[in-house]
């Protein structure tokens, strides 16, 4: 056996790959579901918090800033472990899926809030004044004038952060979530062969590369001359 054969036998073992392909595919489906749930709820919650913050109610803003800073400081892994192992003692036992989803959504919410907020405050004050001077209300101005401009400013940082946090679905392995990495590492233990890990890596590429490319397209599509 040459060293090349030994390498392919270890990392690209066709027999092992074939055997564990269904597991990896199942992991992919779970990862997609989890990622979709995290992105939808995290971005929505972040946007809602940013809009609430725009109302300018002091105590509410302190609370928002506290929550946001908390979840921006905590490593997502710590949040997952706290929710999965900590919440049951408070009488609520979320599943591995729910724990991972809640954790990543909270972290994405925190970062998204900051990004949306930055977009809202960096929209020139004159835009508010022009809109309000024509009789538009606060909410109408926010919705029709400020947000469309803020969202365009936020697309690049937001897609980056969303991708980074969504890849954190792999952290679900610590609470035995059967997503891609979980499936791949248990397959590796069972087969005494690291080929499933390579399949896992390929699965992440298949999932996230199109997202990265799509994000790039969206960024160019929505940039406009000022």
């Amino acid at each position: 056996m040459t060293s090349w054969d030994r390498f392919t036998d270890a990392f690209f073992n066709a027999r092992v790959m074939e055997k564990y392909l269904p597991d990896i595919l199942a992991g992919m489906v779970l990862t997609i579901e989890l990622a979709a749930a995290v992105i939808a709820s995290g971005l929505l919650a972040g946007l809602v918090l940013a809009l609430l913050r725009a109302l300018g109610i002091r105590p509410l803003n302190w609370l928002i800033v506290f929550v946001v800073d908390l979840f921006r400081s905590l490593p997502p892994l710590v949040v997952i472990v706290l929710i999965y192992f900590g919440l049951p003692s408070a009488g609520f036992s979320p599943s591995a899926f729910v724990s991972t989803w809640m954790s990543l959504a909270l972290v994405l919410m925190a970062f998204a809030e900051e990004i949306f907020w930055a977009g809202i405050v960096s929209t020139p004050k004159g835009q508010w004044e022009a809109a309000r001077s024509t009789g538009l209300g606060f909410g109408q101005t926010l919705l029709h004038v400020i947000l469309p401009q803020a969202l365009r400013l936020t697309i690049a940082p937001l897609t980056n952060r969303t991708i980074a946090i969504t890849k954190g679905t792999a952290l679900g392995t610590v609470v035995a979530l059967h997503e891609i990495l979980g499936m791949a590492s248990s397959a590796m233990s069972n087969s005494y062969n690291p080929s499933p890990l390579m399949m896992g890596a390929a699965a992440y590429l298949v999932l996230f590369l199109p997202v990265v490319v799509a994000a790039r397209w969206v960024e160019t599509r929505f940039s406009w001359k000022r």
Binding site: A131, Q149, W224
Partner: protein, 248 residues
């Protein structure tokens, strides 16, 4: 002399920004169809006064009545009141993500409640009045500064305001573009619009203004017909200011 009550009546307006006392008791009445020019050194409070009239700034004390509406009463629907007071800004403040027509029709649709089709008819008419009917589909970034400011004027007049406020409308423009904006303002003037203009376009003031108001240090120092203010001001501060700007 005036038979009609003033359409804009500001009394004893004070405005503090923290420790700064920017307006120190300003009274200003403006009659219907009158064009009042407000001049004065920077920091004299003229822009702040203008912005108090439609409550973009809330005065610290005083009273403001525009077209019979008490602008400072908490019972006043301020969004409704602001429809009657058009405002044009130094930096245009067009919505960059919308076309010229989109800029002009937004408030017609969302505030007045017109359908999109109705709003577009009115919006095109307003653009026509500022000579930009052919630019309806252009974004602000595709227009010159003078065109942008004329779209901003169209955005305000589309709502058929009773009063128009101009806050240094030509200060951000290249000199060769100033004329087109002043021409639109002259047209508005001829149509009988009541206008309050903060500007240093002295030629326009002489030709079109009914009254020139000179402000300094948060107070109206002197006011009168343009010829009187420019040729024979009675106050030393007015004289010094007029002398300074005419040297340029």
């Amino acid at each position: 002399m005036r038979l009609m009550p003033p359409i804009v009546s500001a009394k004893a307006i004070h405005k503090h920004f923290g420790p700064l006392h920017v307006l120190k008791g300003v009274d200003l009445d403006v009659a219907e169809r009158e064009l009042v020019f407000v001049i004065g050194p920077s920091g004299s409070g003229k822009s702040t006064l203008l912005r108090c009239l439609n409550r973009l700034e809330a005065p610290s004390s005083g009273s403001i009545v525009v077209d019979g509406i008490d602008m400072l009463s908490s019972k006043t629907d301020i969004n409704h009141a602001r429809q009657r007071i058009g405002m044009v800004f130094q930096s245009f403040n067009l919505y960059p993500h919308m076309t010229a027509l989109g800029n002009v029709t937004l408030a017609l649709r969302k505030v007045v409640g017109k359908s999109r089709a109705e709003a577009e008819v009115l919006g095109r008419a307003a653009l026509e009045r500022v000579g930009l009917a052919d630019r309806a589909g252009h974004r602000p970034a595709e227009l010159s500064g003078g065109q942008q400011q004329r779209v901003a004027i169209a955005r305000a007049i589309a709502l058929e305001p009773r009063v128009m406020l101009f806050d240094e409308p030509t200060s951000a423009l290249d000199p060769e573009l100033v004329g087109s904006v002043l021409a639109v303002m002259r047209g508005l003037r001829e149509s009988g619009m009541t206008m309050i203009v903060v500007s240093h376009e002295m030629g326009f003031a002489r030709a079109a203004a009914d009254r020139v108001v000179f402000m300094d240090d948060g107070l109206i120092v002197e006011q009168g017909p343009p010829a009187q203010i420019f040729e024979s001001p009675t106050h030393g501060r007015t004289r010094a200011f007029i002398g300074q700007i005419q040297r340029h």
